[in-house]
Amino acid sequence: MLTPEQMSKVLIAAPKDVIEPVIRELYRKRLFHIQDFVEDEHEEYQGYRIGNPLSGAGETSKELLRLRSVTNAFSLRSDDIDPAEKIRESRLQERIEQELPAIEQEVEDLLSRRSTLENQKKEIEQKIDLLLPFADVPVDLPLLRGYRTMAVIAGYLAKRISLNVPCEEYYSESKRGNLLIVVTPNEYRPEVERMLLDAHFQAIPIPDEKGSAKDRIAEYQVQAKSVEQEISGISEKIQALKANHAGFLVACDELLSMDVERAEVPLRFATTDHAFIAEGWVPSDTVRPLTEDLVTASGGRAFVTELPIQKGKDVVPVEYDNISFARPTQFLMDIYSRPKYTELDPTLIVSIVFPIFFGLILGDVGYGALLLAASFGLRKLLKGPEGKMLLDIMRNASISSIFFGILFSECFGFKLPWPSVLPSRHLNIGGEAGGHGPAIPELMIMCVWIGVLHITAGRLLGILNHARQDHGSHRVWAMLANLGWIMVMWGILIMIWSAFPMPLMPDLTGFPPLVLGLSLPAIIGLLIIVLGVVFIVKESALELVELPTILSHVLSYARLVGVGISSVAIAMVINFIAIGMIIEPQLENITIFSVIVIVVGVIVWIIGQILNTILGMIGGGLQSLRLQYVEFFTKFYKGGGVKYNPFGVMRKFSED
């Protein structure tokens, strides 16, 4: 449970003519994590070469490529499709040969027609853009061009200028800009152009069209509309095809991808002219059945053996080995880093502690119930294994939140009918101020206790990790150093107890002072600290710099109270604004107006509480996750393990 699944290194050797049945069997079993063969890396593999893909790999890849172009056109993703009914592989193969080419052809035709139409549309729009400046010009376009002795210049101008040469001008102001058309004899053209250039003139071409610009624009707009209609017709057809064939296409994609993967896997094997060798990892308890299956599949011609694991040289892939309760938390572990093979796997501890911390922060029956409902409601939206894991974590966290809500006696910031079992977090907000207010010192000390215990657990795991991973004298000193950290922390704690009486903590202030004003417990505490520091220094003197983190890490658990109380405060403020300030005053004298105000008050309350639920979820989730990652993991956990990724696939749409 606290260690990853035990792995064995397996070597498979067989003649090349049984490579296909062996690969097929490996793929079907989905157990073998292939270790890629690298040429010239190991001496014992001298003379071996990387294998060639199986025959037919090229065609299958091409077929897959064509299929993917269709699924891309449909923007079809296998995650979006509910696997309704699995199609048998042989039936699927038949349909791939018979139906797929027709579908591909149809989609290809539709796509090419659509892209032609889209190009047409673009051309038409360009023409309209060119014509638009001339829409208000009262002469037909052919009159603006084709003169031998005259030059026509058209364009936009910031403001009108007077051209003191013989010319005809048309000027109109509009939102697009101020259009100026000048007709002048050819000999004045350079002079006009110079004057216009000085006035920041932007020339535009005169469109090569017949009739008036306005009529032409109207005609083109009609054309564009009909092209657009045709495009949307084609898009509808594509959508209809997608709806009809989505299930079949994702099944084809799955089958062809499997075929390609199988056909290309010899690229990861070591081969000679007549044989091949595959090295890889399988869970230890599956070595024997897998061996038997492979031998049977190859007709007794495959040789399978277990190799010894070379410590420090082999990179063993890591697969979690957790009880079903802890399995969703593997998601949180993978976000940080997968444990190394030799390391303790703290998933189980995190799966228990994370919801407790979340509950301590967001201890509220109402919010817990809302999140619980959300964790079930979102299941339709969040598909895939990771989404499911996240929702399972959310479910556990919200149940814990309800539990602590009962203990804290809180529901949407209101007090429940019973007194708070844990130190109260109720603030005096609003008119009904009075009572004691939150029991801050008790809450803080509760957090310090949680922190001390959590960190001690982390250090103990650190001792275990060093005991498992290290060797020789380093192993002893590393274990003692971890013990030293625990001792310094508890030593400080004992010294504090001997100096100050505190609620929820042992009171050691009663002892008489012995030496230098220090009482017996204080002296014991001091000795423990000194011994702890010695252990730490023995391993690495630089670690002394880290000593203040003992204090800061323990105090960091105060966030369990801090973030929690701020969420309670927001809830109470929302209640006070919505109920105390908006709704209650209206209840004294009910009129139509007051009913409207009450409805507004209810809306304010609902929006406010939803907002606070989201805030509480993000705050509670991130803060308790951080306590795991920063305060807990840094004491013992390194991570960096390689994910166990067996050769094979989880079939969703097809079956053998």
Binding site: Y336, P438, A439, A558, L622, Y629
Partner: protein, 86 residues
Amino acid sequence: MAVEVGTAITDVAVMEASQLGLRAMAAAIAVGSTGIASAAAEMVIGSAAVGATAENKDVFGLVLLLTVIPETIVIFGLVVALLLIF
């Protein structure tokens, strides 16, 4: 005589009120200034974190962790403020 006692009572009341006010001010400064400090630190880390995640999605867990590290500053501020007030 009565006037002097009355003045003394008022003085004490004023003193208590101003002490309460000063404590509230101290709490406000504790939360406010640490909040600004956390925000400034997280701003820099957060933008770098987004950049790093865009380059390589695997570092998400690590950068999330780095981003929330300065949060401790404001939590300490909040703790100090709560202890001041209650």
